[in-house]
Symmetry: C2
Subunit: 371 residues, 2 copies
C-alpha cells in the first residue's frame, strides 16, 4: 500500500480484455478536456463517424456509452423492452442468460430458445418460437457467445425475427472489429459492443447503435424508459448535435482519446482486412493447438475465430495450467464460465494480439506448462 501501482506486463489471451495497442495507451495520457469543449464535441463527432464505419451502419444513433459492454446490454434492452413485452432470447451461453435476466428485471416476459452450449442457435428452433408467439416485440441474441466460442448466423436470425415483425438486438461484444458485423445489411435494430477486444482499446466503453426504426419505437413507448443514465432520448440529446448538445453526464475524455485512436488504427488497416487477419490467424492457432493434442469445442463452421474454447484433455488440472501460464509466462488465458466451467479453456487471439508472434508464444507456453 501507499505505493504507485505497477502492473505486470501480461500477455492477455483470454476472452478479453486483450492487449491494448501501445499507440492507444499513449493517447490515454493526453490532457483532459471538458465534456462541452468545442474540441471535445469534434472528437465525439469523429468517434461517431468511425463507429459507423466499424459497425457498417449509417444509423444516426451510433455513439459510445461511458461504461462497459454489460452497460450496453442493459441500455439496449431497457430502451426497447417495456414491462409486459414478450421477448425471445436465443440462449446458448452465459451472456445470453444475462440478457434474459435483464429482460426479467425490466418486467418483460422471456421466451427462451435454448441451444446446447458450444453450438450456434438453430434458426429453425428460433423461428418455431415466433410461430408460437406471434406477439413478440423484441428478439435478442449474442452474435459471438464469449462463454462458449459459438458464432451465430446473425443475418439469418435477424431475417427470421423481422419476418415476424420483431425488433432485433444483437450483442457484438466479442465480434466487433474482429469478425464480420454488418448492422445495416443484417438489419440489426440495436447492437452494443465493448472496447477491449477486437478494437484493441482499454476496457470501459460500449460502442452502441440503434436503427431509425428502433429510435422510433423508443419514442412511441407507452412507459418511460426505467433508467435515467441509459435513456436513449437523453443520450441522443447529448450526442446528436450540432448546436444543441444538452449536458447529460461528464464523458470520460481520456477514455475517448483511446477509443478514437483505436478506431483510427482499425480504419487504417481496413475492417475487412482485420476480419481476414483474425480468421487466418485463428486457423493457424487451431492447427498448432491440434499438434499439441488440443481440440476446439465448437465445430469449425460455427466457431468464433478470435475466441476459441478448447476442450481440457483428460487428467489435466486445468486451474494449475492457467496459474502456471500466468506465473511462469505472464500469459492469461480464460477459464470456462457457467456450464463450461472446468471443461474448457478460452483462448482469445484478438485485435493487437492476432499475430503469428502471439500464436507461437501461446503454443510454446502451453507446451511448457503441460509437459
Amino acid at each position: 500500500m501507499n505505493k504507485s501501482f505497477i502492473p505486470f506486463n501480461r500477455i492477455l489471451m483470454g476472452p478479453g480484455p486483450s492487449n491494448v495497442n501501445p499507440q492507444v495507451l499513449k493517447a490515454l495520457s493526453k490532457p483532459a478536456l471538458g465534456h462541452l469543449d468545442p474540441q471535445f464535441i469534434e472528437l465525439m463527432d469523429e468517434i461517431k463517424s468511425l463507429l459507423k464505419y466499424t459497425f457498417k451502419t449509417e444509423n444516426e444513433a451510433t455513439f459510445v456509452l461511458s461504461g462497459p459492454g454489460s452497460l450496453g446490454m442493459e441500455a439496449c434492452l431497457v430502451n426497447l423492452v417495456e414491462p409486459g413485452d414478450k421477448v425471445i432470447v436465443a440462449i446458448g451461453g452465459y451472456f445470453a442468460n444475462r440478457m434474459a435476466q435483464i429482460v426479467e428485471k425490466i418486467g418483460g416476459h422471456v421466451i427462451a430458445v435454448k441451444e446446447t452450449w458450444g453450438r450456434a442457435i438453430d434458426p429453425q428452433k428460433f423461428e418455431d418460437a415466433f410461430k408460437q408467439n406471434p406477439d413478440v416485440k423484441v428478439a435478442a441474441f449474442v452474435h459471438a457467445e464469449t462463454s462458449t466460442g459459438a458464432l451465430q448466423n446473425a443475418k439469418v436470425l435477424s431475417e427470421v425475427a423481422h419476418k415476424y415483425g420483431a425488433l432485433v438486438i444483437a450483442d457484438t461484444v466479442t465480434s466487433l472489429g474482429a469478425v464480420e458485423v454488418r448492422v445495416d445489411e443484417w438489419n440489426l435494430d440495436a447492437s452494443y459492443s465493448c472496447s477491449q477486444k477486437g478494437l484493441s482499446c482499454v476496457a470501459g466503453m460500449s460502442p452502441i447503435t440503434f436503427s431509425a426504426r428502433a429510435v422510433e419505437h423508443i419514442k412511441k413507448r407507452k412507459t418511460p424508459v426505467q433508467s435515467w443514465f441509459n435513456d436513449l432520448n437523453l443520450l441522443l440529446s447529448y450526442w446528436n448535435g450540432p448546436g444543441k448538445r444538452a449536458y447529460h453526464h461528464t464523458a470520460p475524455s481520456n477514455q475517448f482519446y483511446g477509443l478514437h485512436e483505436a478506431l483510427l488504427l482499425l480504419k487504417e488497416e481496413g475492417i475487412e482486412n482485420s476480419w481476414r487477419r483474425h480468421k487466418e490467424n485463428s486457423n493457424k492457432l487451431v492447427a498448432r493447438l491440434k499438434e499439441i493434442g488440443l481440440e476446439p469445442l465448437v465445430p469449425e463452421n460455427e466457431r468464433i475465430p478470435n475466441l476459441l474454447t478448447i476442450k481440457i484433455p483428460e487428467g489435466i488440472d486445468e486451474a494449475k495450467v492457467r496459474t502456471d501460464l500466468l506465473n511462469k509466462h505472464n500469459l492469461e488465458i480464460g477459464a470456462g464460465l457457467g456450464e463450461l466451467a472446468g471443461k474448457v479453456w478460452r483462448i482469445g487471439l484478438m485485435g493487437y494480439n492476432s499475430s503469428e508472434k502471439m500464436i507461437l508464444f501461446c503454443i510454446n507456453a502451453l507446451k511448457d506448462v503441460m509437459r
Copy 2:
C-alpha cells in the same frame, strides 16, 4: 479526420472536470490487466481501502462504479428506492432535480423540499416535510450543489432524516476530497461521487459507499433491483472477496490505475490538509475576484469553497467572456445551468488546480477579456 487527436492543453476551472495530476495521467498508460487477475484484485482491494479513507467510513460496501457520477446517482437511488416508496428530495439546484427525475423513473413518489437556487436547504423546511410524511423511506440531497455553488449542512440534514427513520443518500460529487465529507460521523447511508473533481483524476468513475444498514435494507427489498448493472447484490459479489469474486463486468483496469494513483496522492497530502488547502485558496480567489468587481452568488457560510458561482455584472456578454477565455487563454470556466443559465459563471478551483498559481492565472485572464 484520420489523424490522431491532440487535445489543447486546457486549464479546466469550470465545475469539472478539473485538471488531472500529471502522475495520474502517466498511470493511465500502463499495460492493461484482466479483471480477474490476482494483481488486479489486489488493486481493487487497495482502491477500496483508499476510498474508505477518502469517504471517512468503515463501510464494507465501499468501491468504485465503472461509470461516471451520474451512474452513481442512479445506483444509489435504484438500490434504495422501491416502486411506491415515498422519497424526500431536497431540491435547490439542477442535480437535485435529477435525483427527483430518477426517483420518478423508479416509480417512487417524490416529496420535493424546494429551496432557492444558490442557498443551502433550510433544515426546518426539510424537517417539516418529514412531519407531514412520517412514512418516508429515503431522503436524498446534494451535498455540494454543482449548479448553484451552495453547500448543504449534511450533518444536520442527515440527523433530521434519521430522526424520522429514513435512509439518507448524499451526493458528494463536487465535495469529495475537496470539502469535509464524513460518511460515518454524519451517518450517511449511501453516497456517490466522481473522479474528475476533488480527486484530480480523469472522468468516468464513481466512488460509492453504502452503510451496513443500507445493505441490509437492499437485501430485504420486496421487489428486485430494476437495474442489472447497478444491482448492489451483484456488485458486492464482484468487489467483496476474498476468494469468492464473482465475475460481474469487465472493469476498466487503466481507469482504476489512475484512480489508485489519485487516491494515493490525496492520502499523501492528508485529506484534512486538502480540505484546508481548498478553503484557503477559495478565500484568496474570492478576495481577488472582488477586487475586479466580481461577487459570489452564495452567502459565505453556505458556499462550496471549491466551486464558486459568480454573478455576471450588468452589461457583460457572459458567453463572449467564456469564449474569449477559452480561445485566448485556453481557460475553461463554466456557464450557469438551469435556472442560473446566463446569470452566473461557475469557477472551480479544485484538486490539482487549487493553488495560488491558478488563482493568479484565472484573475489575469478574466481581467484581460473583461477589459
